[in-house]
């Protein structure tokens, strides 16, 4: 992730990555077999970061509605909205045409996220069709937010978070 963020994915060769990690480049091949699988592992790693963040926040939240909001908050918290994370994420996203397996991973992850969100919203009393719509919109909003953050390092995290929370406030029937 450090390599991709500083050099760009195009110049993040196996050699450069190995140099950065201070290991021999063959070790990467040993553990990950080839470049595509290394990149898949990176993508999965990012998802795991986010998953961990979501889990503890949802656990900590009281009401169903607070859990739904926790899922959103987790995806825009400072730890996740780090430059390394979002830049790498976008870079991997852009490789989808040449690495279809990444598309599959993304599909699975995005789907799970969305269904969790819808579940908590419904438990919180939001009508299904409304919950689906909010989940769609908030997912797109967060994707866009990651993208923007990747393009502009100087973007203020707090202001981005405000955009999300403003949306939630206006589109959820009351809440914590």
């Amino acid at each position: 992730m450090q390599c991709i963020t500083s050099l760009g994915i195009h110049k993040s060769s196996m050699q450069k990555i190995a140099d950065r990690a201070e290991i021999n480049s063959s070790l990467i091949v040993h553990y990950f077999k080839d470049r595509p699988q290394l990149l898949e592992a990176v993508y999965t790693h990012i998802y795991q970061l986010m998953d961990a963040e979501i889990r503890w926040r949802v656990k900590a939240a009281g009401s169903p509605m607070a859990k739904a909001i926790a899922i959103c908050d987790a995806q825009v918290c400072d730890d996740i909205l780090r430059r390394e994370v979002v830049v790498t994420w976008v870079a991997l996203f852009a490789l989808i045409p040449e690495l279809p397996s990444l598309a599959r991973l993304d599909y699975i992850y995005a789907k799970r996220l969305r269904s969790n969100l819808v579940h908590h919203l419904q438990t919180g009393g939001v009508e299904r069709s409304n919950a689906l719509q909010v989940a769609d919109e908030i997912s797109l909003l967060i994707d866009g937010l990651w993208l923007r953050k990747a393009a502009d390092a100087n973007l203020d995290g707090d202001q981005l978070r405000k955009t999300v929370s403003d949306y939630l406030i206006q589109n959820l029937p009351s809440s914590a």
Copy 2:
């Protein structure tokens, strides 16, 4: 754009692009000087496509509010939401760490788009702070939408457009 979409940007070498265009690869160098400048030209091209779409739609629209909606519609119309366009756009976005000039272009384009949108909203009677918020949210929404469309070719354009229009309906004080 065809190369990037089918091969991915990583394998879209000058040679492959030249082959696809049925020209000698030196010609690319002759006209664009080097790879970064070629890619900048592609990015600018995408923006011009969108700009043209926005212009005629805004001109065709009657009320200020209709103009604001036209700006949004233009960015999610079938011509723009083509696989070639969105995939290439994401791919170029991912090159920002290694091609900072792309960040500058994106910054300029995104800013102009946003200020146009805010202008029409205000002319249409939306209070400034409210207009800013809607413009922020809709921009992120559309960015996310392009990203999703790039990741999943099978995504239905009509449904994506519905997500945007639903948002507009609920967040704009009446409209056309």
